[in-house]
Symmetry: C2
Subunit: 347 residues, 2 copies
């Protein structure tokens, strides 16, 4: 089927670019002796993760147990969930998943570790638990002076295994803190098998932190207007585009597209909700759920009602989550249709 036959809005994946992005990241990791663990949140499609594994990835990272369950069902067995899993219902599901898979989670607090220990103990199996180190984004994560306490507690639990350190993002500036954490663990006599970094922006700097043994990266596979704007990728590294139609031209300077926040999500870069390939000077300045507002005042040529445009979204991962299918395109033909199997998994 030709891409022109697709209805809009639809999410197109340029297969040549995606394959090139997969190969480039794996080559980098291979060159530097790093394990590569793709974060599947960006695509949520087992078939795409399979391509990443075939290229050399060691396993996958997911952000939710429900996502890991989908991927386990599709045959993936090395599942890392870099998140505090909290509450008896969730830790029980985690243990179920760990019965037949290599499951690794993270923790940043004794309370989290206690919950994991209880659940693993109830089934008498061993959960792999990494300690998450706080970074400059000030999200979750333990401060460096708590790392030894947490690792010791994990190792003291008969049903938990201390599986290393995890951090996000692993920008080079974090190295002194990471070294301090490793020194403290070393002095406490605690072995650290894995040091897992992450983030598309940090990925190609991983060799500047030789302490890293693996990286988790998601966005690199498609890229988006955010990664381009930050200089992490070139425009022609963007493998995802949202195909949209001009549905209204109410004034000479304004176009309305059928790709709103239900299609592109509300993420933005410098206040703009994506980049229109056909009209580089157009500005997507506002989104309602079903309307994109486009300012054409800086455009010499301007689209008419019915024109179909390609939008590089501000943030690729959230677009995948909003759609039921991704269309893999090569030479303008739809070569493959991927159901977004782990879409909308919030548990």
């Amino acid at each position: 089927m030709h891409v022109d036959e697709l209805e809009t809005p639809s999410v197109l994946i340029d297969l040549d670019r995606m394959e090139r992005n997969i190969a480039r990241m794996q080559d980098y990791c291979d060159q530097h002796g790093l394990a590569f663990r793709p974060h599947i949140k960006t695509h949520k499609c087992p078939e795409i993760a399979r391509l990443q594994i075939e290229a050399g990835a060691v396993g996958i990272a997911c952000q939710k147990i429900s996502e890991a369950e989908v991927f386990a069902g599709a045959g993936f067995n090395d599942l890392q969930i870099p998140y505090n899993i909290v509450g008896a219902a969730k830790t029980a599901r985690l243990v179920d998943l760990a019965m037949y898979n290599r499951v690794t989670v993270s923790a940043d607090h004794l309370t989290v570790i206690a919950g994991l220990a209880d659940a693993a103990g109830a089934e008498d199996l061993t959960l792999r638990v990494m300690v998450e180190l706080a970074t400059e984004i000030e999200r979750a994560g333990a401060p460096v002076d708590e790392v030894v306490t947490l690792a010791q507690r994990i190792d003291a639990e008969p049903n938990l295994h201390f599986a290393g350190l995890l951090l996000y993002p692993s920008n080079p500036a974090i190295r002194p803190l990471l070294q301090e954490a490793l020194d403290r663990l070393n002095h406490a006599g605690i072995g650290v098998d894995v040091v897992s970094g992450g983030g598309t922006g940090a990925a190609f700097h991983a060799h500047e932190i030789p302490e890293l043994t693996e990286i988790r990266v998601g966005t690199y596979i498609f890229n988006d207007w955010a990664t381009v704007s930050k200089g992490w990728a070139a425009l022609d590294d963007c493998a995802m585009a949202v195909l949209a139609t001009v549905v209204s031209r109410p004034t000479p300077d304004r176009a309305i597209l059928d790709a709103g926040s239900k299609t592109l999500a509300l993420d933005s870069v410098d206040g703009l909700h994506g980049f229109i390939l056909e009209y580089p000077n157009a500005r997507i300045y506002k989104l309602n759920e079903e309307h994109a507002y486009v300012d054409l005042s800086a455009c010499d040529d301007r689209p008419v009602i019915g024109d179909r445009l390609h939008i590089i979204p501000a943030h690729t991962c959230v677009v995948s989550n909003l759609h039921n299918r991704l269309y893999g395109v090569r030479d303008e033909q739809i070569e493959v249709v991927w159901p977004v199997a782990a879409r909308g998994r919030v548990w």
Copy 2:
């Protein structure tokens, strides 16, 4: 099932409040002789729309053909799509839908009307087309001096019926413009059956524009932090809450919840992504896909890891679109589970 048994994040609907919101809006419309047409984008559940119809609504409004298809399949037959339907594939689907249902769409341009006429002509049936009048939100919509031209063109097409004027939002300030449009149509000898206004903020002001014959309103059924902040509803009119868990307390002033932009969407009010009922002074200042960042610095009491919190989302409609189920709650018991049947319909 008790609400405490639900996993998080989950979307709770307070049934008492929802029923009260439905009744209040219908009573208002009944008192003022207005037809009421709920916009189903807010809940996307046929079972909930059925409650609105049973209360007295004349039909529904949807924002996409694919949403209308879901509701037609569930037995709803008066379907209004206040949107320019553009492109041969979409207009053909619209005509399919119009074979067995009363379907009304809007248009703001001759190009849109021509596409509708072609599709309706191919099947020799009649499509109902309203003209959308531009308003102060500067989205789609025709200027007042084009309304007669568009209405005449619709009426001149053998397979289109001019079904009236449509505007969003119908705030009282728009009245002079609406009157001008109606005067122009009157002078041109064009009858106007329906004048359809809309918007939760404008709803209870509809009687100030006696020219309106119907209103389309969505958000009123659940309300959200935006409608409360604008003074359109009270906090105890909010029927939707997202149940979330505190998964990390990395610093005394920060909590991380398991409800990120994949759960709450990125919509905000004054930069905040919702309101936490248990901690009114807490501020949800940032969202990643699976993390809400909460500033607790103004809170006397503070939550611990594992605590479950109720969040009134900034924007209710986009939350429904992200979830597969809504949980109807009364007296802390899950009384009903609604699948969000029209979730994720982007075509």
